[in-house]
């Protein structure tokens, strides 16, 4: 029987196990929407902006490990979703985005709402397709899901002209895909793995540096076995949080620009860096020429381009984390004995010393302004038994969330690392909530970032996605203000937000629940109230505006040279500021 392109689209999605599509309609995709409307297997979540749809697909993908799907119209629909595609590309998130296109006979004529979707998305997708013939549609969709989810995952765009969605073709879904130019390597080179095992056995100061690849690969169990068996400390990247239990004794927390003191010191002084599914981003390495100067480097990554892109690698292993770690563990199981523990005792003594010397700190006065770290810490303690999924926006609050919310398991952490997209947090949380209706999903947001996709509150209310947004409301683009205080002599160019909406009223206006924490003593009670609500909630927490996030490695600095607290001039300035609210900014600025 012949099906229309729109019907074929739906049949393909069903075969790929897609349950939810985040979408916003328009002229050229109406046939697809109309067909979706007449079936029940796939839920359509109507977003208020295509960027929201894209981030929801990302959140869905990160939480489930499966491809997230969004559907947008041509022209402005496409350009709106670009930010989310670029975000997914940087963070290797499997997203399949379907865009509508003007009818094939009009392509290139500057038709109404025409855009070169393939051209626009080329630099920010893993691959993209323009389907010109309905007979190619099914095979193309199959390839799109295959490419998005295999190897190093990433976003794929399928551009469907209007006439293709209406035309009919015989439907057959291919069982398998074979693309001659695309064969990701999963098995690591055995000889290299043996070399790695030998290096691990000999190392006196080894460190595991693990990233998002461990999560994509589902290799947390293997990582845990490796770390425990060899007693090697674990540094996680921002994207790797949750790959290893945050409260485990072997965990040193996050490394990098706002990583913990011990994590950065340990990688700097290590003699063997074992990088697993991490890509030596500049937020981690700082000054590349002085990154881990004493170490041999083992690098396991499925993408050959990640290896030796930024730093020299001694033992490169191209392959999937899980497969490679299994093989590595098997070798080590046969060789590890008590000796390594003795060999590394001085290393662990040193690490514990670092840990004690400079733990993460902040000072919460009993009646003083609310400190953002305190909010994250209490939120963590109040929810950890419920195994929540946590998303963040971008800024200081994101870093505090990374530092204080200690994730126990993978796929619970949704954050924008590579692109650093403000406005990511809320829609990403909604995407995860759409996948797991019964789970607790939290969004730790900034007052600046959250406004970039606030419109999705309507989607959350209508589609019953009871995400809990906790806004660390410092009245500032806080991360920008921090840099200005540290590197631009405190000139707050466009970092003060001046007018911010009343988030409680805003929540109310959308039909969600708005709560505010007025003083630190109320924090627990208000958080508990929010957690007990079955609707979307905004908790507005006015926090101390001048709190800075430490440790901090200034851009291009070395990992062992961290700023650990406000420099004295700044402390002086802020001791005055502690008593004023942002409304008194003039007083502060002249203080």
């Amino acid at each position: 029987m012949k099906l229309t392109g729109a019907e074929i689209f739906i049949e393909c999605l069903k075969r790929e196990g897609v349950k939810t599509v985040f979408a916003l309609p328009g002229g050229v995709v109406l046939k697809i929407f109309d067909t979706l409307y007449q079936q029940k297997d796939i839920e359509v979540i109507l977003t208020r902006h295509e960027q929201g749809a894209g981030h929801m697909a990302e959140g869905y993908a990160k939480a489930t490990g499966k491809a997230g799907v969004c559907l947008v119209t041509s022209g402005p629909g496409m350009t709106n979703v670009i930010t989310a595609l670029a975000d997914a590309y940087m963070d290797s998130v499997p997203v399949v985005c379907f865009s509508g296109q003007v009818p094939t006979n009009l392509i290139g004529n500057d038709a109404f709402q025409e855009a070169d979707n393939v051209g626009l998305s080329r630099p920010c997708t893993k691959y993209n397709f323009l389907v010109k013939d309905v007979n190619d549609l099914a095979a193309t969709i199959k390839e799109a899901f295959y490419i998005a989810t295999t190897g190093r995952p990433g976003p794929v765009l399928v551009d469907i002209p209007k006439d293709v969605s209406m035309a009919k073709a015989e439907f057959t879904y291919p069982n398998s895909v074979s693309i001659r130019g695309y064969n990701p390597t999963y098995d690591g080179n055995k000889w290299q793995i043996k070399q790695a095992a030998e290096a691990i056995m000999k190392a006196k100061k080894p460190i595991l540096y693990v990233g998002g690849g461990v999560i994509f690969s589902g290799a947390s169990q293997e990582l845990l076995e490796l770390a425990e068996m060899t007693q090697i400390p674990v540094d996680m990247t921002l994207m790797g949080l949750g790959a290893f239990p945050g409260e485990h004794l072997l965990s040193l927390g996050m490394l990098g620009m706002h990583g913990t003191y011990q994590a950065n010191m340990a990688i700097h002084y290590s003699d063997l860096v074992i990088a697993i599914g991490a890509r030596f981003d500049d937020r981690v390495t700082g000054k590349v020429s002085e990154f881990c100067p004493y170490a041999k480097v083992i690098h396991v990554d499925i993408d050959p381009t990640s290896i030796r892109k930024n730093i020299h690698v001694d033992i490169p292993i191209v392959g999937d984390c899980k497969t490679v770690l299994r093989e590595l563990n098997q070798i080590l199981r046969a060789t590890v004995n008590g000796e390594q523990k003795d060999l590394r005792k001085p290393w662990w003594d040193q690490i514990r010393e670092w840990q004690q010397a400079h733990p993460l700190t902040y000072h919460q006065e009993k009646d003083g302004p609310i400190k953002p770290q305190q909010v994250v810490k209490r939120l963590y303690e109040l929810t950890k038994d419920r195994d929540p999924i946590v998303s963040t926006d971008v800024g200081q609050h994101q870093m505090w969330a990374a530092q204080y919310f200690k994730l126990a398991k993978p796929n619970r952490w949704l954050t924008s690392g590579g692109l650093g997209t403000m406005g990511f947090g809320f829609p990403a949380a909604m995407g995860a909530q759409a996948a797991f209706r019964d789970r607790l999903v939290l969004c730790i947001a900034g007052d600046g970032s959250v406004q970039m996709n606030m419109q999705e509150m309507a989607t959350a209310v209508v589609s019953k996605l009871p995400v809990k947004i906790i806004i660390l409301n410092n009245g500032f683009h806080g991360m920008v203000r921090q840099w200005q205080d540290l590197f631009y002599e405190g000139r707050y160019a466009s970092s003060y937000l001046d007018t911010t909406p009343d988030f409680v009223k805003l929540a109310d206006a959308y039909g969600a629940v708005g709560l505010r924490v007025k003083k630190v003593g109320d924090l627990d009670a208000v958080l508990k109230e929010a957690l007990a609500t079955d609707k979307p909630v905004i908790v507005d927490v006015p926090t101390y505006p001048y709190e800075n996030c430490y440790p901090m490695i200034p851009a291009g600095g070395c990992n062992h040279e961290m700023i650990l607290e406000d420099p004295p001039e700044l402390k002086k300035k802020q001791s005055g500021a502690a008593k004023v609210t942002p409304e008194d900014k003039d007083t502060v600025l002249t203080a």
């Binding site: 080329r122 693309i179 130019g181 080179n189 290299q192 993408d303 050959p304 381009t305 030796r308």
Partner: protein, 172 residues
């Protein structure tokens, strides 16, 4: 250092822009790029002349391999190869210059492929040095137009894809 990279790609819509976009987006050099279908009409062959240190060339090879439409990448510098470039040069020639032009054509084993009362159009092919040399000699006569194809190159013996070799280099 200059490298000549031979890239076998799918012969389909948009592949050239993916390759060109890769080079511009990542700030890699392209000195020249030539592309044409192969014996198998489903594939095209690109010859890319680029330059960079060892690490950059390794990245270029890996990034090319990563493109889904790229089937095979060979860094020809890793093997023996022959390369050619063709130039078409239109020179202004009058009176005595015409004889001089023909002499130069003869020395370089070039061909005159078109002639008008005031011009010769000369085709020459060879390595870049030879082409530079003939251009230098023709310059005094007055070159009106110059078109160069960019280099094409082929390995002397069949070679394996550099994807595998890049890994080997990294291991050594």
């Amino acid at each position: 250092m200059e490298h000549i990279i031979s890239v076998t790609v799918e012969n389909k819509f948009g592949v050239l822009s993916r390759v060109a976009g890769l080079f511009s987006g990542r700030g890699f050099n392209i000195e020249s790029l030539s592309v044409a279908p192969t014996l198998d009409p489903s594939m095209s062959q690109m010859t890319i002349v680029t330059s960079g240190d060892e690490r950059i060339i390794e990245q270029i090879v890996k990034q090319l391999n990563k493109l889904i439409d790229v089937i095979k990448v060979v860094d020809l510098n890793e093997t023996e190869f022959v390369s050619r470039e063709t130039a078409i040069i239109k020179v202004h020639t009058k009176d005595a210059d015409r004889a001089e032009a023909l002499r130069i054509v003869d020395i370089f084993r070039a061909n005159v492929i078109d002639s008008t009362p005031n011009t010769y159009t000369i085709e020459v092919s060879g390595d870049p040095k030879k082409i530079e040399a003939i251009i230098n000699l023709l310059q005094p006569l007055g070159i009106k137009e110059l078109i160069r194809t960019g280099r094409v190159a082929v390995a002397r013996e069949p070679v394996r894809s550099t994807a595998i070799q890049a890994k080997k280099v990294a291991r050594d």
